[in-house]
């Protein structure tokens, strides 16, 4: 919200400079993001008097004017059709910045230069309203009142010496949406008193009740309705001082009646609405809830469809306004209006917010009502506006006011314990000090004891409802930065920095040369649907690219591969640790139990192997590279508790899959991305992916390691080669070796794999180095020979193998 320094000064004495005021209020929580000295705007623009106008010698639509701007007279080439001798105008001098260029789209600012226009020198520019950002008229130059004095700077002529603050309002302080509210905060800051402007009304003898009536059909939605009635209103433009005041805070002047209501809203925070009383059927106001689907045309000319429960202001037969949000076209003030009914009411914040959001219509009024206005200000605000009507329009104010206020708000008292205040803040304040601090906010002490104060809460502070609210007010007034900074924090409890394997896994992978990625969990439908589970869908996505939550880490990573391949990457080693989400089949949708999320770990290898070196044959990553990475990772953290099982279980994204089990529990898989999936992302390289459940890893996670003593006896190694049919998996042979080898067999290493004529067509040779490690003795040759024979026999029978000689 914009706050005018000069306006503020009519409500409270301000001795502080704008800088000091902005800093002081910000430190009270009323944040002032920036302020602007309007006197410095439109520097280089002055009032000029057009002395003569002659036709341009070389152009039909241009004129050459002599313009007096105080001590000198400038020659100005002008293209406006309405320029005439004797006019007072605004002239931009050389070097001045014109805020808007009306001949360029978007109206960018530009700097004035002395120039020859069609051969005639122009030493300045006569400006339009549009160019000066003072209105939208760009059909001709702006003409000032004849009393304007040539040479006067623009800012001074328009009385623009004000400073305008841009105030950021927190959601709890609707009362700050007014100059009065800010003035009260200034008073709290400086210790001065803020004063409400007195109301001067000369009421006529005719009583208001003969010309209007109010019925509250919804006493919860509308808890107070004040109506004043005016006759013989002359609609016209507001005087300059009011127009300037409104313009300085960014409100466009319309006519004297509307301007007066806006001005009172900006001053008191109470939104007002003026109806043309001749268009209010039966001169009667009825406040009621809308019917579902009821249509209504607001004064911006748009027809809106309402929902049941939205509050409407109606006359004796039809709606005339959407309460607290916008008036209707059918009862709007027009140039011929003479009788006015002025509304000043209190509407339920929840109801206004609901309707405003439903209609997608947020107005200055609705923003205030939904933060709650001061119910006890309604009558004052109406009378304050009445005073302005009388002054500006010569209106006759009918005697009295209709004031329907069925449940008058009671004065609230709130108690705060001094011990509680000090316990929360870590201060040592006395009762007297607390009373004084709160007194600056206008909270009067009603009674006090040694440990407590009871305070009268003003009606404009609806946010103060419990003790803790007073604790905060004390803290604000005392100054957050005056509260001690206690550095002796009590470090009573040791904290374990992490509970799961995630950080260790990350370190392991980074050490192994993987780059970590962090991918958006919201993705487009087509990506989320690639996974196996039912995706979770967002009801109100920002775009079709982010409609669903990911069910797998793989599709998002493929977009990362696509991005990097397109930027010249040749090979990638990536990992991500992140959540996936899915819906539980048959769930109700509206309970947390219907949704599941799981932390996953993704490994990706693709493209050129990192071994690019002149001495090596460049190769691509393959499935065994990834299998090795996964084996290394699992061996590091789970020792020998895990198994990798080649098993094609119909994964939607990959083939050649290998299931990963830890102590018999499925923990994830690795595999080769299906070519057709890669093609969707324009990826031609083979992509190897592994996706593991971090939740499963965590459940088997045990950082406690016990030392095993080192073996003192030598081990024995024997090499052994088997020839088997080519379709027998290596794993079967290895398993048979291990089964027969028993406890003494401590290592099985495949050192050669060969297929060729020497072993017969359709066969392959597998050569192993077998290591035997006894725990308690030195092995004899005989013992080893015995085990080797046993192994050979078993592999022969289990795999149909023969020993290669």
């Amino acid at each position: 919200m914009k706050i005018s320094h000069q306006w503020l000064r009519t409500l409270v004495p301000v001795m502080l400079s704008p800088e000091k005021l902005a800093e002081g209020l910000s430190m009270l929580g009323l944040e002032i993001e920036r302020f602007e000295d309007q006197g410095k705007r439109l520097d280089g623009f002055v009032v000029g008097e057009v002395r003569s106008v002659e036709k341009h010698p070389n152009a039909d639509k241009l004129t050459v004017c002599q313009v007096a701007v105080g001590t000198q007279t400038l020659q100005v080439v002008c293209g406006a059709p309405n320029v005439a001798s004797g006019q007072k105008v605004v002239v931009g001098l050389e070097g001045a910045t014109v805020p808007r260029d009306q001949h360029a789209t978007g109206g960018p600012p530009f700097v004035l230069r002395r120039a020859k226009i069609r051969g005639v020198e122009s030493q300045g520019m006569i400006c339009s309203e549009y160019e000066l950002e003072m209105g939208d008229d760009r059909n001709g130059i702006m003409i000032l009142h004849s009393s304007a004095k040539p040479g006067t700077p623009h800012a001074r002529h328009f009385g623009r010496s004000d400073v305008i603050y841009d105030v950021e309002i927190t959601a709890n302080r609707g009362d700050w949406l007014s100059h009065m509210g800010v003035a009260r905060e200034v008073a709290a800051l400086t210790g001065k008193k803020a004063a409400i402007p007195a109301v001067k009304l000369r009421e006529s003898r005719e009583h208001v009740s003969k010309h209007a009536s109010v019925i509250l059909g919804d006493k919860h939605g509308c808890q107070r309705y004040v109506a004043l009635v005016f006759r013989n209103v002359r609609i016209g433009p507001s005087p300059m001082w009011l127009q300037n005041r409104l313009m300085s805070v960014g409100v466009r002047p319309i006519n004297n009646v509307v301007d007066a209501t806006n001005s009172v809203m900006l001053e008191t925070g109470q939104p007002l609405h003026a109806f043309d009383n001749d268009k209010v059927g039966g001169h009667s106001i009825v406040v009621r809830g809308a019917k579902d689907g009821e249509a209504f045309t607001t004064l911006d000319g748009k027809t809106r469809t309402l929902k049941a429960g939205s509050l409407l202001i109606c006359d004796n037969q039809r709606p005339i306004a959407i309460a607290g949000i916008m008036g209707g076209l059918n009862s709007e003030i027009s140039d011929v209006t003479t009788n006015v009914l002025l509304e000043s009411a209190w509407f339920d914040p929840v109801s206004i917010r609901r309707t405003s959001r439903y209609l997608g219509l947020s107005t200055d009024a609705s923003q205030r009502f939904e933060r709650s206005v001061d119910i006890d200000t309604c009558l004052y605000a109406a009378q304050r506006a009445g005073g302005l009507f009388q002054e500006l329009t010569g209106a006759e104010v009918l005697k009295g006011a209709i004031d329907v206020y069925p449940k008058k708000r009671k004065q609230t008292l709130l108690k705060a314990r001094i011990s509680k205040i000090n316990a929360i803040l870590g201060t040592n304040l006395s009762v007297t000090r607390v009373s004084a601090l709160l007194g600056r906010l206008g909270l009067e002490v009603q009674s006090s004891t040694a440990d407590s104060v009871s305070l009268r809460i003003p009606s404009y502070r609806r946010d103060l409802i419990q003790e803790i609210d007073l604790v905060e007010e004390v803290a604000r007034m005392y100054g957050y930065n005056n509260i001690d900074t206690e550095t002796s924090a009590r470090i009573g409890y040791a904290a374990r920095a992490d509970a799961g394997p995630e950080d260790d896994v990350r370190n392991f992978l980074v050490g192994g040369g993987f780059n970590e990625i962090v991918v958006n969990s919201l993705q487009k439908r087509s990506l989320a649907l690639l996974g196996e589970e039912q995706p979770v869908e967002v009801l109100n996505p920002v775009s079709v690219d982010m409609e669903m939550l990911r069910t797998s880490l793989i599709p998002g990573a493929l977009e990362v591969l696509e991005h990097n391949f397109n930027r010249g990457a040749k090979g990638m080693r990536l990992f991500e640790c992140g959540k996936v989400f899915w819906r539980v089949a048959g769930g109700s949708e509206d309970a947390l139990e219907d949704y599941k999320e799981e932390q996953r770990l993704l490994l990706v290898l693709t493209g050129d192997h990192f071994n690019r070196h002149h001495s090596e044959k460049q190769r691509k990553y393959d499935i065994l590279d990834l299998k090795g990475e996964v084996e290394g990772l699992l061996a590091k953290f789970f020792l020998d508790k895990c198994r990798l099982i080649p098993y094609d279980n119909g994964k939607p994204l990959s083939v050649d899959n290998i299931s990963i089990e830890i102590q018999g529990t499925y923990a994830g898989f690795l595999g080769r991305l299906r070519k057709e999936i890669g093609a969707k992302f324009g990826i031609e390289e083979e992509v190897l992916v592994a996706e593991l459940s971090v939740d499963v890893l965590s459940s088997f996670w045990n950082k406690d390691r016990k030392f095993r003593s080192l073996n003192r006896f030598p081990s024995v190694t024997r090499d052994l080669a088997f020839v088997v049919a080519a379709n027998v998996p290596q794993g079967n042979v290895e398993q048979a070796i291990r089964e027969a080898g028993g406890e003494l067999l401590s290592g099985v290493f495949l050192f050669d794999l060969y297929s060729g004529e020497q072993v017969g067509v359709g066969n392959k040779s597998l050569a192993y180095a077998l290591e035997f490690q006894p725990a308690d003795r030195t092995l004899t040759d005989e013992e080893v020979n015995g085990i080797v024979s046993k192994i050979i026999r078993h592999v022969q029978s289990a795999c149909g193998a023969s020993v290669r000689g």
Partner: protein
């Protein structure tokens, strides 16, 4: 001096021609390139030269050193160095080893975890898919209150949503254990906002919570000042400013003196010399009650910060989209 430089250059070229074995090469190195060699002596003499003359002389000295170094290295890697070595060309590139990187967001979270662990904070996490109760109601957001507009929400159903902040984890932690509770809660949060350099639908927060008997605002300040000094350096200045959050009261934004420009004014601090680094406050009694803690017995403080913003201030990453684009040229910088 100029003369000396020219002379040493010529002398070196002559000496280089005479090198026949490893011993000669080492002697050459000691004469010219060692810590007390001829070139180092010239650099010492530079200090005696009048300041205005120093830059050009410094430049030619550096050129000389580079010249000598290059010729020395090419000589030493050539066969002359032979002797008992294998004859391998040691200037050939080494066999590559892949260099892994941790995402800057992870690095930031890890550093924050380390700092807070040192102050006795453990780590807790909660779900990204939350319900209205944990995300709003339990955190003292009244229904239909404008405070809910502060956080544009992605809804999944009427009651289910993507958490807009990590604060719901506060409720889950309080419900799951008895005070004292001292934890930080890092995690992903979601806001229904247009994606731009400054805002994204997704970002990361780190929430902190401390609930016990006799926890004060004074201690909140002490903890956060200690954090700021550890993370940003002990010379940063700080201030606390009143603000509003439904779940804390009193609520405070914490600012530190701009570490980018040292309060001289820059775009990051919007030319006012101060950076907002976190929001904080004393846990609201209503929130304590929702967490199952009696506000007459216990008090607490909470704070929250944006990880992307922390990383921005640390690394100068000025476009939030870069974090989630995962361009390798970006990732490999960290």
């Amino acid at each position: 001096m100029v003369e000396k430089i020219r002379h040493i250059k010529e002398q070196f070229e002559a000496d280089l021609k005479g090198v026949e074995g490893p011993a000669d090469l080492e002697a050459l190195r000691i004469k010219y390139l060692s810590r007390k060699g001829l070139i180092a002596q010239l650099f010492d003499q530079l200090k005696a030269v009048a300041p205005p003359d120093r830059p050009p002389l410094g430049r030619s000295l550096n050129e000389l050193r580079a010249f000598v170094q290059n010729l020395f290295e090419s000589k030493s890697s050539s066969a002359v160095a032979g002797g008992h070595t294998s004859g391998i060309d040691r200037s050939l590139p080494g066999r590559p080893r892949p260099v892994g990187t941790k995402h800057p967001l992870t690095q930031t979270i890890e550093e924050l975890k380390r700092i807070f662990a040192g102050m006795g904070f453990g780590v807790a996490v909660g779900p990204d898919i939350e319900d209205e109760y944990h995300n709003f109601t339990a955190l003292n957001f009244p229904p239909e209150h404008p405070a809910r507009d502060m956080q544009d929400t992605f809804f999944i159903s009427k009651n289910i949503l993507l958490r807009t902040h990590t604060s719901p984890v506060q409720i889950r932690v309080m419900k799951s254990r008895k005070p004292p509770v001292r934890v930080i809660m890092p995690g992903r949060v979601y806001r229904n906002e247009a994606v731009s350099a400054r805002s994204h639908v997704l970002f990361h927060q780190l929430e902190g919570l401390y609930v016990d008997r006799h926890v004060t605002m004074s201690e909140l300040k002490g903890t956060l000042v200690s954090f700021a000094h550890q993370y940003y350096g002990s010379s940063v200045k700080y201030k606390f400013r009143p603000t509003f959050f439904p779940f804390t009261e009193p609520s405070a934004d914490m600012y530190i003196s701009c570490i980018i420009c040292n309060q001289k004014g820059c775009a990051i601090c919007k030319y006012n010399g101060w950076l907002e680094i976190l929001g904080s406050g004393m846990v609201h009694p209503n929130v304590l009650k929702h967490g199952g803690c009696d506000p007459e017995k216990y008090s607490g403080f909470a704070f929250g910060m944006g990880i992307e913003r922390m990383a921005l201030l640390r690394y100068g990453i000025d476009d939030i989209r870069l974090y989630f684009e995962n361009d390798l040229r970006f990732l490999k910088q960290f």
